[in-house]
């Protein structure tokens, strides 16, 4: 509890909280409201729709471009997450549990990649992927996503793994468990929250990326949702498909909001691990 709790102060912080919540949610409410407006009402300059209609959602799901992009996004982000978390777990386990020269070097290298500007390598990747046949394919995006999220995975997992009482598996062995049982029954449940946190953060990165997505893809074969939204075309060339963009935006935002609501503690712990612990 903070210092001093007079009634006035409580009121002050309460009002402040309400303002923060409003500020954080207004653009989200706005895009939902826009997606529910009828086409004719899109230009009515109102914050809320006069009549709610699902026509834009119907249009978006009818659009093969969007369904393809949604599938690509789920598949590419999912596989990248799995790969980054598996490779990250190996590395983090070694860094936390084993003594070997180069541990610090690996952490430092991971950190410098976290600061690396992706725009600096899109040209070479574009050229290499064309030669290797990876341009506009799933692996063409999975490889950079996995790499750019490995630092995040390694740092988050090391921070969590450091807190695990690893000797518990010895205790289980003394009690008669086989090494495999000890690992599966004792270590895996202890490590799961960290792995899960890393997976959420990595998934959010891959789900969000735009630069690689528009540089390394060109068709529905591998184009992900952010790229599809930015390049949505209306029924005519000159019409801005505002309603479709809004509906598509809501569709891809809903899963993120659910994840945030369910796992907020883990996300916050993952974000602040390392940066604050000293």
């Amino acid at each position: 509890m903070a210092v001093g709790d007079s009634r006035l102060e409580r009121l002050f912080w309460g009002a402040g909280s309400a303002l923060v919540v409003a500020y954080a949610l207004i653009p989200v409410v706005w895009i939902v409201s826009l997606s529910l407006k009828r086409s004719a009402d899109l230009g009515d300059n109102r914050f809320l729709p006069q009549v709610a209609s699902l026509e834009h959602y119907a249009a978006v799901f009818d659009d093969p471009q969007f369904s393809a992009a949604l599938w690509n996004s789920i598949g590419i982000a999912g596989i990248s997450t799995f790969a980054a978390v598996v490779l990250g777990s190996f590395a983090a386990y070694a860094i936390v549990r084993l003594q070997f020269p180069g541990r610090r070097l690996i952490l430092a290298a991971a950190l410098s990649i976290a600061m690396f500007p992706p725009v600096s390598i899109i040209g070479p990747l574009f050229n290499m992927w064309r030669t290797l046949g990876l341009y506009d394919t799933w692996p063409g995006l999975i490889i950079p996503y996995m790499t750019f999220t490995l630092p995040l995975a390694i740092w988050t997992l090391s921070a969590f793994f450091r807190e695990i009482p690893w000797d518990l598996d010895k205790a289980a062995r003394v009690d008669g468990a086989t090494p495999l049982q000890a690992f599966l029954r004792v270590i895996v449940p202890l490590a799961a929250p960290g792995v899960f946190t890393a997976a959420i953060l990595v998934f959010m990165f891959a789900w969000n990326d735009f630069l690689f997505a528009i540089s390394l893809t060109s068709t529905n074969d591998a184009r992900t949702v952010p790229a599809a939204i930015a390049f949505f075309t209306g029924s005519s060339r000159f019409e801005q498909p505002t309603g479709s963009i809004a509906a598509a935006s809501v569709v891809v935002t809903v899963p993120i909001i659910i994840v945030v609501l369910l796992f907020q503690r883990r996300i916050v712990a993952g974000l602040t691990s390392g940066a604050v612990k000293g």
Partner: protein, 291 residues
């Protein structure tokens, strides 16, 4: 070295190898390749004209108005958005720290901007400020296309960045605030320090390293700004950021030589920024996160 430690070293390297190799192959190797490409006249539309030209591409980039304009735009966006985020982030963190009712609600709502796709956030704000579809002009009683003029376009871009990323700043700062001992604040209060003095004399100095880490991450991130500018103006109204210039040269115009020179220069800028923070402000990242 005993056999056991040798085996441990080997296992350690074996476990790290896949991650290290992936990171080297996808960052270090393309970076070197970019360095190599930047020495060539190499335009994919005229591949036959490929030839070695040394540093001419760099001279062309550094001699162009576009580069310097984009650099100053990027620096402006970075400084303005990070400065606002720091202040606003502190306000949000203090609110979460002090609020008794609704602290969880505030934290949950703040995670929404953090989690939302940047392209979606940029779209939402673009439509909100748009004179035809938007509600902001009606709300403020204004008319005018925000994204059609340079000053107001910058305002929309920066405010989108601030909305999207203040949460990250606020959550880091909140975690830092919990490290400030209450006893110290109580003692300062007893000694007659008012809220403002307590914040600037006690809280702030104790949080220095957390603030610096948050600033470092946010500065480097803001400097790479691409998505928001691409969605909101595509660089029109003279709002191009460095990443947009790099993307246009490489992917839109397929000029791999010139574009790679831009890429290398952006990389050097980021390196310089990181060096300024780490050496200049004495952030020791390796030590604070080491086991």
């Amino acid at each position: 070295m005993s056999r056991r430690t040798a085996a441990e070293h080997r296992l350690g390297w074996l476990l790290c190898a896949p991650a290290v190799i992936a990171m080297l192959l996808v960052t270090a190797w393309p970076m070197l390749y970019a360095l190599w490409l930047s020495m060539f006249r190499y335009d994919l539309r005229f591949p036959a004209e490929r030839e070695f030209i040394g540093f001419d591409n760099y001279l062309a980039v550094l001699g162009s108005e576009v580069w310097w304009q984009a650099l100053s735009n990027t620096v402006f966006i970075t400084v303005a958005s990070v400065a606002v985020e720091l202040v606003l982030g502190f306000v949000f963190a203090l609110i979460m720290h002090h609020a008794i009712i609704g602290r969880r609600l505030v934290r949950t709502s703040l995670l929404v901007p953090y989690g939302i796709i940047t392209v979606v956030a940029a779209m939402s704000w673009r439509f909100a400020f748009d004179p035809t579809t938007g509600f902001i002009n009606a709300l403020l009683g204004l008319e005018g296309a925000w994204l059609a003029e340079r000053g107001s376009a910058f305002f929309v871009i920066i405010q989108t960045e601030v909305w999207k990323t203040t949460s990250f700043m606020a959550l880091l700062l909140l975690a830092g605030l919990t490290l400030v001992p209450d006893d110290l604040l109580r003692a300062a209060r007893v000694d007659g320090a008012d809220a403002v003095q307590r914040f600037f004399r006690v809280t702030l100095p104790l949080m220095r390293s957390v603030i610096m880490v948050a600033l470092l991450f946010r500065t480097l991130d803001a400097f790479r700004i691409f998505d928001t500018v691409f969605v909101q103006t595509r660089g029109s109204q003279n709002t191009e950021s460095l990443s947009i210039v790099g993307y246009n040269a490489l992917i839109t115009r397929l000029n791999l030589g010139l574009g790679s020179a831009v890429s290398v220069l952006i990389f050097l800028c980021v390196l310089a920024l990181a060096a300024i923070y780490i050496k200049g402000f004495g952030i020791d990242l390796s030590q604070r996160k080491e086991p």
